[in-house]
């Protein structure tokens, strides 16, 4: 009796287990199939940019061949023309200077502020934290016109130092916000121990909090880097001469001359300009993603 009742459900369970496994496998195949479709959608533009940048101008002019592939051989001519005949390297240098300065300013300002806001409550500190979050939500396109006037008054119009001045408004609020979260997640015992040992606040910050919160600091740095590398509205509005231009605007506007678009060279420029963020992403993907998701989950 007991053996019968035991055997019936067990065989049933086995059968349903097998079908479950089969349906799981089909779900997996379907997932792969649709993911490949989405990957084609997401990666087609960068792929096409690469293909274009590696083609000769002659092949580009031919309308008969399939533009998605290279038939006449791979060439680096487009990159050579770009680096030799255009101001691309000047843009690159300007962008690098601006970005390094902005990242440095952002990190100093936001680590100090986040430490104060995350670990030492003071009058108005929660209001300030809310204010920082709201500032983060202010898009650059809301304030670029009054900013134009301010930058002009300061004599920084058409100078990349003007960018060093205004970019921190885009980077500091978010970096401070995620750093507050990271600092708050550090156990209280750590700073109590440091206080007992007689450490000052700055010592505590530099010797204990910065090393412990290093993942957060790297995530914030990556954020500041990508934002100031990719910024477009402010340089578009404030910079107009070639020697002061940055990469995004320089590639999109100054490399286009006359009616004939040199697409191969333009794509080579776009790829080189996009390379630093992509390289950082390739090596530090986990930090990148941690920074991305922290904005909505920490707080």
């Amino acid at each position: 009796m007991s053996s019968i009742t035991a055997s019936v459900p067990s065989s049933k369970a086995m059968r349903s287990g097998a079908s479950l496994r089969r349906s799981r496998r089909w779900a997996l195949y379907a997932s792969y199939f649709f993911l490949i479709l989405f990957a084609i959608f997401f990666l087609a533009p960068p792929y096409y940019m690469i293909v274009t940048a590696l083609k000769t101008d002659g092949e580009m002019a031919k309308l008969a061949t399939n533009p998605w592939f290279i038939y006449d051989g791979v060439t680096l001519d487009q990159f050579r023309i770009l680096l030799k005949n255009t101001d691309f390297l000047i843009y690159f240098k300007n962008t690098a200077i601006v970005t390094v300065c902005v990242v440095a300013i952002t990190m100093v300002v936001s680590v100090l502020a986040a430490f104060a806001l995350g670990r030492m409550r003071f009058w108005g500190s929660s209001m300030l934290a809310t204010g920082i979050f709201l500032t983060y939500l202010v898009p650059d396109t809301l304030l670029f016109i009054p900013m134009f006037q301010i930058v002009k008054t300061l004599g920084l119009l058409n100078s990349y130092w003007g960018m060093v001045l205004v970019y921190p408004t885009l980077t500091v609020p978010f970096c401070t916000w995620i750093m507050i979260g990271y600092f708050q997640s550090i156990p209280k015992e750590l700073d109590e121990a440091a206080l007992i040992d007689g450490a000052g606040h700055m010592q505590m910050l530099l010797k204990i909090f910065v090393p412990v919160a290093l993942p957060g600091i790297i995530a914030a740095m990556i954020f500041a880097f990508t934002v100031s590398w990719a910024a477009f509205v402010y340089p578009m509005a404030f910079l107009y001469s070639s020697d002061q231009q940055v990469l995004t605007v320089g590639t999109v506007t100054s490399l286009i001359r006359g009616d004939v678009y040199k697409w191969g060279m333009l794509m080579a420029g776009a790829l080189l300009a996009a390379a630093p963020p992509l390289v950082i992403y390739a090596f530090l993907m986990d930090y990148y993603i941690a920074g991305l998701t922290a904005g909505a989950t920490k707080g």
Binding site: L28, Y32, F38, A39, F42, L43, A44, P45, P46, Y48, M49, L63, P67, W68, V108, L112, A113, A116, L117, R119, M120, R121, F122, W123, G131, L134, V138, D140, T141, L142, L143, F144, I145, P146, F148, Q149, I150, V166, T169, V172, D191, E192, H201, F232, V233, T248, T251, V252, W263, M267, A274, Y281, M285, I289, L292, T293, A296, T297, K298, G299
Partner: protein, 313 residues
């Protein structure tokens, strides 16, 4: 940390008041230090965000030469123009459609990636996030080239499949479609990452319990996944609404507002009026029209983030 110091202060008041109030002094010094540490940040926010915001309101009430105060003249002028109402319409269509499709694609791809074995997920996630990592201005340039009518990718492919080429950027409606498509392409990976993180935080036991009760995959999605993710979906959608509504790069690069001004957004229209035509006050007035919509979204995001913060603890 702050709490512990305060409790020390309250439990030993006798000692502290008897001797030269060291605890209180320490506290005072502490908040002074904290304030000093925040000072650079406060300066940046006050000088480069709050001051420009108020200056923008003042600027928008001047005439073009900035010599005369004309009150709400710029705003009434804008509201009397058909182009302005087209900008309002296009910005709304752009933001709503783009955010809807970004959220939808993000949700679908997040589920697909989550279905994979754990080992492969990282690779797929890394690949699918690439559009978000390329600076938008540069990838838009690539899209522009793909949209090229005579000589390029999409129309070649369409023609070889036997269709006619599409005037992607020269026909106003196709141009609207194209700028939205690029925005969806750029923004969907962000939703993918956010939703994937949210999916991982749903406790596995809930699904197991539902399986035992015989719930179908769709029922699990509607009754477990969606409620658990509701907050994060709301935050990302509202956040993306702000960013999308205020978008500048895509339209400026691909169409510069044309054809027939039909793809202009608030940002590009403000750029045209304020910087290109040199009427800063009118441009400032145009971007100020974005403010109420952004403010409403911001309030709701803040509520969502606070709630989520409390849920996580």
């Amino acid at each position: 940390m702050a709490d512990t110091v305060q409790t020390w202060g309250s439990t030993v008041p006798g000692k502290a008041t008897a001797k030269p109030n060291r605890m209180q002094k320490f506290l005072r010094r502490r908040s002074t230090i904290a304030f000093l540490m925040c000072l650079p940040l406060i300066l940046i926010i006050v000088c480069l965000v709050i001051y420009p915001a108020f200056y923008s309101i003042y600027l928008s009430m001047l005439n073009k030469a900035q010599t005369r105060f004309i009150g709400l003249g710029n705003f009434t002028f804008l509201m009397s123009r058909d182009t302005f109402w087209m900008v309002v319409q296009q910005s709304t269509i752009f933001a709503l459609t783009a955010v809807f499709f970004k959220a939808l694609i993000g949700l679908i791809t997040a589920h697909l990636v989550n279905n994979l074995p754990a080992k492969g997920q990282r690779k797929w996630r890394g690949m699918l996030l690439v559009p978000w990592v390329i600076p938008l201005a540069l990838s838009t340039l690539g899209w522009w080239w793909m949209f090229d009518p005579t000589n390029s990718a999409f129309n070649y492919t369409l023609r070889s499949l036997g269709f006619d080429g599409i005037p992607w950027l020269s026909d106003p409606y196709w141009a609207r479609f194209s700028v939205i498509l690029v925005n969806v392409w750029y923004g969907a990976p962000f939703f993918l990452i956010m939703y994937l993180a949210a999916l991982k935080s749903v406790p596995e036991q809930l699904y197991e319990a539902a399986s035992i009760d015989g719930a179908s995959a769709w029922q699990k999605f509607v009754h477990i996944t969606l409620p658990m993710m509701r907050n994060i979906i709301a935050i990302t959608v509202l956040f993306s609404m702000i960013v999308t509504f205020a978008n500048f790069d895509i339209v400026q690069i691909m169409t510069a507002g044309g054809p027939r001004n039909m793809t202009h957004m608030f940002a590009t229209y403000a750029f045209l009026l304020g910087i290109r035509s040199g009427d800063l006050p009118l441009g400032a007035a145009t971007s100020l029209f974005m403010f109420p919509i952004l403010a409403i979204a911001a309030v709701f995001i803040l509520r969502g983030v606070r709630k989520r913060g409390r849920e996580i603890g």
